[in-house]
Subunit: 394 residues, 2 copies
C-alpha cells in the first residue's frame, strides 16, 4: 500500500481503531463519572439547606484540593475563567499591561487577560508538550523586549509584560522549570493554567504549584467536575487569604455590618457544587488510573495505524491524560477534517485542538511571536473519546 | 410610660415581638426551603451525567423564568453580579462612563459598574420604597448635568452618564414608571436590579421587565435559590440572543471548530444548579403566600410596639416581601445597634441595611447627589427573620 492509498483510508482506519477500544456505541469526548458519594453529599447539602455561600463542603473541598496538590492553600471559585481572572489581578496585571499566553489554548485564558484591560501577547508552543516553548520564548523576549526600571517592556508597543500564563495542554505538563527560569530572568510573574491538569505532576510535584498561582477547572468536561467550578492554588498563605477575600466580595468580618474594603468579585463556589466536588475528588485516583489505562489501550491499538501517533506524556512527567489526542503525521494533516467528519459520523465525538487565539477576531491584532509550531499543531491534533468510564469496556 | 422609658425597653420589646411570631428557637435571616422536587431533579441531573454547561434544566429554568415574569427571554447565569455585569456591558457602558446607582444597595451593583471600568454615581432613595428617588434624581440631573450630542454629561466630571440601575429594595418595587421617564428624558439606559424582587410587580407587571434589561439573583438567601445563580431578563429577542452568546464564551456553533467571535464571559449557570432552580420555581407561589403571611403576622404583632413600623409594600405594588424590615422612628434610631445586639443575642438573626456605597473605601471618591434620605434609612432600617418557612410556626 503506498502512502496515498494509506492516507485515503486513514479516516476509516481511525474509526475502526477507536471502535476497537471503546466499543461500537456512540460516546462523547469527555463525560463525567458519578460512581461514588455524589448523591450522598449532594443530598446532605440539600437536606442541611446550606447550598449556597456558606457550608462545610466548600471548606472541605478546598482543604482536600490543597492536600491532593500539595499547595499551601486552594480557593474554590465559580469556574476556571474566574480563577484566571483573579490570579491575574493579584499578580499585579494592570490595564495596558501585556500578558504572555500560548496561542494554542482555550479562549478563557485570553479573555481573562482582557477582563484586566490587559493585552495578550501570544507565543509559540513546543512539540513535546504542546505547551509554551521556553526556548522560543526566551529568544523572543531577548529579541523584542528590553528591561526598563526592572520591568520587561515590549519594545514595539512600549507596554510592560507583567505575567505569563503557560497551560498544561490536555493534562500534559509543560516544561515548567525552564519557563520559571525565563520568568525569573525577565521579572514576569508566572501563573500556571492547570485547568486541564488536575492529577498531573512534574518530578512528583503537582502542576499548578510551581508558579506564583495556579488555576484549576472543574467544568463538566474535566477529570473531575463540580458542575461548574474552578480553584486557585498558591503556596503563599497571605496571598491565599487575599484570594479568598477578593473572591467573596471583600466583606470585612462583622456580626452584622456590611463593609467591603475594595472592589471585589462574587466568585465563590456554591456549597452545592462543592458537595459534588468532594465526592468526585474521592474517586480521582481511580479516574486517573482508568484514564492511563485508556491511553495504553489506544496506544496499543493505534500502533497498527500508520500516519498517526497517540500522544504520550513528556519524559519525566506524569500526565493525567485528560484528553487523549492523536497527532497526525505531516502528510496526513490535510485529512484532518475528513477524520473529524468520519469519527463524528460514526458516533465517536472528536474535535480538533482550539483555533489559535491569534486567529480569533477579538485577538487578531494582539502582539505575537512567530508561531510555527502552534500553527503546525493546529493542523495535526485531534482529540478522541477520553472519558475515564470508557475503560470499563476494555 | 414616657418616650425615654419606652425606648430603653425597645430592644427587649422587639425581641419579644419577633419571638411571638417565629417561636423561641434560633432562626437565620433568610433560609431556603426545599420541600418539593429538589431532590428528584438534582438526582435526575446527576444520573444523566449532564451537570454542567449542557443539559435540559438550564433551558427549562430559562423558559419557566420567562413565563413567570412575562419577559420575552430569560438567560440563566452564574450569579446576580454576573447578570449585572453583562447587562451593563450590553447597555453600552464603556470605560470612563458614569452609571447612576442608589447609594443604598448591595455592593454587587457598584462592583459590576467597576468591572466595566465605569464609575458609579450615587443618588438618593425615596422613603416610600427605599429605592432610587425619581424626583430627586430628575432635580439632580437637571442641576448638575447637560445634554451634549444627545448624551447626558456630568458637568463636574465631563463623563457621559450612560445608564441607571434602580434596585427593588427588599423586594419592594421602586417607582419604576417615574424612573423610566427620567431615563427617557436624559437618554440614559435603565437596567433594573431585581435581584431581590422575584415575584414582585407593579400594576401586575413583574419587576425586571420594565427596563432595557432586568437582573435576578438566586443566591442562597433569596426567595428561591439555585445555590448560586442569577438571570437576565429582556423583552428584546435579539438582545436576548446577544446575552446568551456573550455569557457562553461567544462560541460560534460548529460541529467541531472552536471559534469565538468576541471577548466574552463564562457566566453560564451549570445544569446542576438549574435543576435545583426548577424545583424551587415550582414552589414560588407558595413561598410568596407564606412570606406575605409572615409579613402580616409581624405587622399584627408589632402594632403593639411603639417606636417601630413593619415595612409594607408601596401602594399599587405587590411585594414579594423578600426581607422583612423594621423602620425605627427617628428618635429610636440611636438604639439601632442595641436592637441588633439584643435580637442576635436572642438567636434571631437581624441586620442593618447596607452601609451606603458612597461610604465604602473603594467608592468614597465617586460622584454623588445629596443623600439625605439614604443616610436616614441607613440609621433606621433593620431586617428581621424572613424565611418563608417561618410561617409554619404561625
Amino acid at each position: 500500500m503506498n502512502a496515498r492509498a494509506l492516507h485515503q483510508d486513514l479516516p476509516a482506519a481511525i474509526v475502526a481503531a477507536i471502535g476497537d477500544v471503546v466499543g461500537a456505541a456512540a460516546v462523547g469526548l469527555h463525560e463525567p463519572r458519578f460512581g461514588g458519594n455524589e448523591w450522598n453529599y449532594v443530598k446532605e447539602c440539600i437536606d442541611s439547606s446550606f447550598v449556597s455561600s456558606v457550608g462545610k463542603f466548600v471548606d472541605r473541598f478546598e482543604q482536600e484540593l490543597a492536600a491532593f496538590t500539595g499547595a499551601t492553600r486552594a480557593i474554590a471559585v465559580v469556574n476556571g475563567t474566574a480563577a484566571l481572572h483573579v490570579a491575574l489581578r493579584l499578580a499585579g496585571v494592570e490595564p495596558g499591561d501585556e500578558v504572555l499566553l500560548p496561542a494554542l489554548t482555550f479562549v478563557a485564558t485570553a479573555n481573562a487577560v482582557s477582563y484586566c484591560a490587559a493585552v495578550p501577547h501570544f507565543v509559540d508552543s513546543e512539540a513535546r508538550s504542546f505547551g509554551m516553548d521556553a526556548v522560543a520564548l526566551r529568544a523572543h523576549l531577548t529579541a523584542s523586549c528590553e528591561m526598563r526600571s526592572g520591568h520587561c517592556v515590549n519594545r514595539a508597543t512600549g507596554r510592560v509584560i507583567r505575567a505569563m500564563v503557560p497551560m498544561h495542554v490536555f493534562g500534559h505538563p509543560v516544561d515548567i522549570e525552564a519557563l520559571l527560569a525565563v520568568a525569573h530572568d525577565f521579572n514576569v510573574v508566572l501563573i500556571e493554567d492547570a485547568a486541564e491538569s488536575l492529577g498531573s505532576s512534574v518530578g512528583g510535584r503537582h502542576t499548578g504549584t510551581f508558579g506564583r498561582m495556579g488555576t484549576l477547572s472543574f467544568n463538566g468536561n474535566k477529570t473531575i467536575t463540580t458542575g461548574g467550578g474552578g480553584a486557585i492554588l498558591t503556596n503563599d498563605a497571605a496571598l491565599g487569604a487575599r484570594l479568598k477575600h477578593i473572591t467573596t466580595t471583600a466583606k470585612l468580618p462583622h456580626r452584622w455590618n456590611f463593609v467591603h474594603d475594595e472592589v471585589a468579585f462574587n466568585y465563590r463556589m456554591p456549597n452545592l457544587n462543592a458537595a459534588l466536588g468532594c465526592a468526585q475528588l474521592e474517586q480521582l485516583p481511580a479516574f486517573l488510573a482508568d484514564k492511563r489505562a485508556l491511553y495504553q489501550a489506544y496506544q496499543d491499538r493505534f500502533a497498527a495505524v500508520p500516519g498517526v501517533q497517540v500522544v504520550r506524556e513528556p519524559a519525566g512527567c506524569t500526565s493525567n491524560y485528560w484528553l487523549q489526542a492523536l497527532l497526525l503525521d505531516a502528510d496526513a494533516a490535510p485529512q484532518r477534517d475528513a477524520i473529524l467528519g468520519a469519527t463524528n459520523d460514526a458516533g465517536f465525538m472528536t474535535r480538533p485542538v482550539w483555533t489559535l487565539m491569534s486567529s480569533l477576531a477579538p485577538y487578531s491584532a494582539a502582539p505575537r511571536a512567530p508561531l510555527p509550531v502552534a500553527a503546525m499543531l493546529e493542523q495535526r491534533l485531534i482529540n478522541i473519546p477520553s472519558s475515564a468510564g470508557l475503560v470499563r469496556s476494555l
